[in-house]
């Protein structure tokens, strides 16, 4: 895991260090810049050191929390601590949404294969894979925010308040959760359908039916339990996509999360913030994968990692 983090940080740093343009000129007002302030800035930023030295220095300041934003001069870790709750809330809600509704749809499809309902589910998941996040978000805003006034079109809490009040915030999170969770929903529905179909053809299902168990019990307790396990791994591999989706969703719905921070930083060329957000989200992906591997091993006694 540690080598992975080093690799990720080196790669992200390489992308930024070869950027054309001089960070020193980004920071000082062009009119006020003199040769002295320019040299002072270069020394302050350590721009004259060789690349590996700069990398090590940057990483040290990143993980000790001393790295500061070019733009706001705030410590990047503080900014991220401020923005992370919104993204984490959104991410967790989207994962729950995707898992619950994806499973429901998949099970419904598998119990009546090749029916109208099954076709509808297939079309739904195909659309879920294919729909562009930003467009889906705008269409929902147009329908439920602008036309029907059922839900607030953007933001995360009522204007004027600043606390984390789940009840006041809930309406603001409905559309973002749906948009972000739909991709996962589609994967899960498709996966649950096919693994349920496979499970329902197994001998132990015939045994369960033969001994007279009710269909509901057969489907839910015998088939679903066995086909649900691998779903855990889907969440693991879909995490990078989810983070990419959060970047778009947070921007469309004006949520104060890390995705929006990332985009603002990209447009302002705020390299320390870009670097930190990229590395932190990569660490989140790595940890997420680790957790999904562990959960899988815990849930399935047949799997043992040497």
């Amino acid at each position: 895991m540690i080598p992975l983090v080093i690799g990720v940080s080196a790669l992200s740093y390489a992308v930024i260090i070869f950027a054309p343009g001089d960070p020193a000129t980004l920071l000082v007002d062009r009119e006020q810049m003199t040769a002295e302030t320019y040299t002072a800035m270069r020394i302050e930023l350590g721009l004259d050191d060789p690349a590996p030295v700069r990398y090590v220095k940057t990483m040290r300041s990143l993980f000790t929390g001393e790295l500061r934003s070019f733009r706001t001069k705030q410590r990047v870790v503080d900014t991220i601590a401020e923005r992370a709750p919104a993204t984490l809330t959104l991410g967790v809600l989207a994962i729950i949404f995707g898992l619950v509704f994806g499973t429901l749809i998949g099970v419904a499809q598998a119990t009546r294969p090749y029916s109208r309902l099954d076709d509808l589910g297939t079309i739904l998941s195909l659309t879920g894979f294919s729909i562009p996040h930003f467009w889906f978000a705008l269409m929902l805003i147009m329908l439920f925010g602008v036309r029907l006034h059922w839900l607030p079109p953007s933001g995360i809490r009522p204007i004027g308040s600043s606390d984390w009040n789940p009840i006041a915030m809930a309406p603001y999170l409905v559309m973002p959760t749906i948009v972000l969770g739909t991709g996962l929903l589609a994967y899960v529905a498709r996966f649950v359908r096919s693994s349920m179909l496979e499970a329902l053809g197994q001998d132990y299902i015939r045994t369960a039916r033969a001994k007279g168990l009710r269909e509901r019990i057969v489907v839910l307790r015998h088939a679903l339990r066995n086909s649900l396990l691998p779903v855990i791994t889907i969440v693991g591999f879909i995490l990078p996509l989810l983070i990419g989706g959060a970047v778009i969703v947070e921007n469309v719905f004006a949520l104060p999360g890390m995705g929006r921070l990332a985009v603002d930083a990209v447009f302002a060329r705020d390299y320390p913030v870009i670097l930190t957000v990229t590395i932190f989200s990569a660490i989140a992906v790595i940890i997420g994968n680790l957790i999904s591997d562990i959960l899988y091993a815990v849930a399935d006694p047949r799997i043992r990692y040497g």
């Binding site: 705008l138 147009m142 496979e198 983070i243 995705g259």
Partner: protein, 297 residues
């Protein structure tokens, strides 16, 4: 010895031809492949014939008709600069399809080279290449792409290269797994025994057998690449304006959702339809190439 090696693959020529014919039959009898391909072919035709089909210049502004709704003269309405949304959507197909398909070509070439090398040579080559892939796969690609495109600019060529490179780890993993399953097979052993060089085994024996996996994964990647390009364009980081792109058009309309729904809706629908079509073809191809699992999808 060398002569035997040269003759070996050719001995199988006629059954291959037969297999190809039945493959065409199976492709044409797969509903998903047919429906998806027809939609894609129509979109390609529209993109190629944009000059003939588009009723207006895509960038011609009629400011007096800003945000005019759909009408007979402008079936998809007009945007905030009075440009015809239909004509822009027609030209937008060029960018989406062009960037989508070309970037996947790059993904597949890089992915195949790395996957075959890792799977064939094994040992440290495999370890090094796959650790590299692991690193790449942990970085949320869209975030990295935003950064890279914002820093290094976005002409069409660069955009294709960036999107293409960003997706290679998935392709490399799939190819490697398939190579590992082919390596113990007798025909690879036979090729080794007759003294075929590694390069020859990879090019003549491995890659042809990888084709089904590569084609399916390539098709399924086109949709994702199109969505990535559209996402970048939505942020104004795609093909630079005023060139019409579907993602950029959706972004143009986002501030007028309350008064002009058509500006964002139609280009987004075009995106949805094209991406669904590529995914349909991909799913159908997988069923055709892997009939054992077809009943499950």
């Amino acid at each position: 010895m060398a002569e035997v090696a040269r003759r070996l693959p050719r001995a199988a020529a006629s059954p291959v031809a037969q297999r190809r014919r039945s493959l065409v039959v199976r492709l044409l009898s797969n509903q998903r492949v047919v429906v998806g391909s027809v939609v894609l072919l129509v979109t390609f035709a529209v993109a190629l014939l944009a000059d003939v089909l588009a009723p207006y210049e895509p960038n011609a502004q009629i400011l007096a008709e800003r945000l005019a709704g759909p009408s007979l003269a402008h079936p998809f309405g007009q945007d905030h600069l009075g440009r015809d949304v239909l004509s822009r959507a027609i030209y937008g197909a060029r960018v989406s399809l062009g960037v989508g398909f070309s970037s996947v070509a790059i993904t597949i070439v890089i992915g195949t080279i790395i996957g075959v090398a890792a799977g064939y040579f094994g040992r440290w080559t495999d370890s090094v290449l796959m650790r590299f892939v692991d690193v790449f796969i942990s970085i949320p690609v869209f975030m990295l792409l935003l950064t890279v495109v914002a820093i290094y600019g976005s002409n069409v060529g660069l955009l294709i290269a960036f999107i293409g490179i960003s997706a290679f780890p998935g392709a490399a993993r799939i190819v490697r797994a398939e190579v590992l399953s082919l390596m113990p097979r007798d025909f690879i052993l036979a090729a080794r025994v007759v003294g075929a060089s590694p390069l020859r085994i990879m090019a003549r024996h491995l890659v042809p057998n990888l084709m089904p996996v590569i084609i399916v994964s390539a098709t399924l990647r086109v949709g994702a690449a199109i969505l990535t390009e559209a996402g970048l364009s939505y942020f104004g980081l795609g093909v630079p304006p005023p060139a019409p792109t579907w993602g950029g058009m959706v972004a143009d309309g986002r501030t007028f959702l309350d008064v002009a729904w058509w500006v964002s809706t139609f280009p987004g629908l075009a995106l949805l339809v094209v991406v669904i079509a590529t995914n349909l073809v991909g799913d159908g191809l997988r069923d055709v190439f892997d009939p054992r699992r077809a009943h499950l999808t």
